[in-house]
Amino acid sequence: MRQGSAAVAAPVGRQTPPTAAAWMLIAPLLLWVAAFVVAPGLIMLVYSFCQRGTLGGVVFAFTLENYAAVFDQTYLHIVVRSVVFAAVTTAICLLMGYPVAFYIGRAPARWRNTLLMLVMIPFWTSFLIRTYAWVTILKSEGLLNSLLVHYDLVAAPLELLYTRGAVILGLVYTFLPFMILPIYTSVEKLDQSLVEAAFDLGAGPLRAFSRVIVPLTAPGISAGALLVFVPALGIYAVNDILGGGRVDMIGNIIEDQFKGTARNWPFGAALGIALMLSFAATFWLTSRWQSEPR
């Protein structure tokens, strides 16, 4: 079964090197990546070894103090919290998103596009406006509390907003489509005959699911997990709005170094590099899990 999914992923046969025409076609993309991804990354790397300028900005004098500060207890605590929040968000998105994606992937062809549209439509609204909409729903005099109080389900309004729960809610809401769509792609490619073969060989529904369906949709799961975990690690707007500015994550700390009191660009750059390295590590781990022979 592992070989089946690997066969989809790996190309077979002899590989011909790209022609000059092929290079010309992808040249614009390479230039764009070089200018807007590689160059800023290099600038950030250089800045992370510089010293803080008085008005902000950097002084080109080599120092390792910024990386030392990254491992300071204060910031390490926040890094751990960010990882935990991102992991919890990924887990909840997976638990909620997998059934939805599975259902859409196995729905009759004429319904699939409509259902996908329903998942995609909130995406067309600004993400910031959707987060503020949650403020309107969760606040003390908001929609949810007004409903609960009106029907005497609670005595006093619940404190839902400006809590960690609200932050997780906002994060899951923002990233759920990122989990549903990759898993849907995998489910759609699922060969139903393999599942039927499992039933024929005596597996119950639970066994068929865990031993056949999940491994076959593993590429979708890992893609979805990556698409949720990595951005959730760096997010700062959702937790700032829904957490009342109290739930600081690594993204907020980096923002503070550039737009806040500290004016410490080199430290912000060092944190950014640390974040990039953790993304690389996550990506490496997921790709190893995928290609691991069972």
């Binding site: 008085t54 605590h77 606040k139 005099e141 500290a262």
Partner: protein, 350 residues
Amino acid sequence: MQATGMRGIAIVAAICLVAVGGWSCTSNRGPKQELNLFAWSEYVPQSVIDGFTRRTGIAVNYETFSSNEEMLAKLISGAQRYDVIQPSEYTVAALIKEGRLRAVDWSKVPNIKNIDPRYTHRPHDPQQQYTVPWMAGSVGIVVNTDKVTDDVRGYRDVFQPKYAGRIVVVDDPREIVAWALVTLGKGPDEVTPATLAQVKPLLQQWLPLVKVFDSDSPKTALLNGDVDLGIVWSGEAALLYNQDRKFAYHLPVEGAHLFVDNLAIPADAANPDAAMAFMNYILEPEVSRLISADFPYTNPNREARKLLSPAELQNPASYPPGDPKLETFGDIGGAAVQIDKLVTDIKAAG
């Protein structure tokens, strides 16, 4: 085919000639004067900008920022040369120290005489060489008197366990540390490792009681009823008071931050004369009144105050009564990093 082709070429050539001719005609009129204004978002009324353009014919390019640090970042990057910037007083001190401001030729800005002497020659610009005060304000206590019946007059009154989870404060580490410093009887600029160690236990008591940290719009949490009291900018408190009289404003008895926002001219400004014309324009009482109407901070212009309505002058957040203890902030240089770390540490522990 050929005839159509020739006709097409002739038409295109004619259009090009007209365009070139027209373009060279306009350039013969001489360089158009413009003003690159870099100010806070929500601080310069459009009516003021339009009035200036109507009066002088100078076009205004208005760019905005939402924090002093953002302004500094864009200013020092040098990507765009600004003619007028709008720094707060502690940023002015840093800019003057770094030689980034151009001295104002007061013969071109005679209206400076309209400013109340209480707002000139302050510590951030002792010889009044570089800045024109725009608006002043304070950071003080606002209380929803429907929910809070006790007398809340100082920082210690706000941060009591009975108000746990009902407080909003501005998300500004410099401000927060300053409150703790003045409560312990020190000056707000006395930021050293020793004084920070002294304020740490006080902040560890205070910050867990706060429900919301919001610098952008602290009035939202108060209007929503999620919090009952807070320490916010006076402009926000004035807007709350105008909306509902139940929001009372007091300046903390231990001492409050008087902030003075200013107009200044960067040293590399391309249009300094336009900048000074703009400064002179906004110092006119009628124009200053327009600023007060939209943004009810404390107007430092004596002549403009004479034109304000009684309702505006009675707003306790805009014009606090009595003789409160007010101090401006100075530049603390690298100590800002320690402040940021301390507040981050305490917030994260909560």
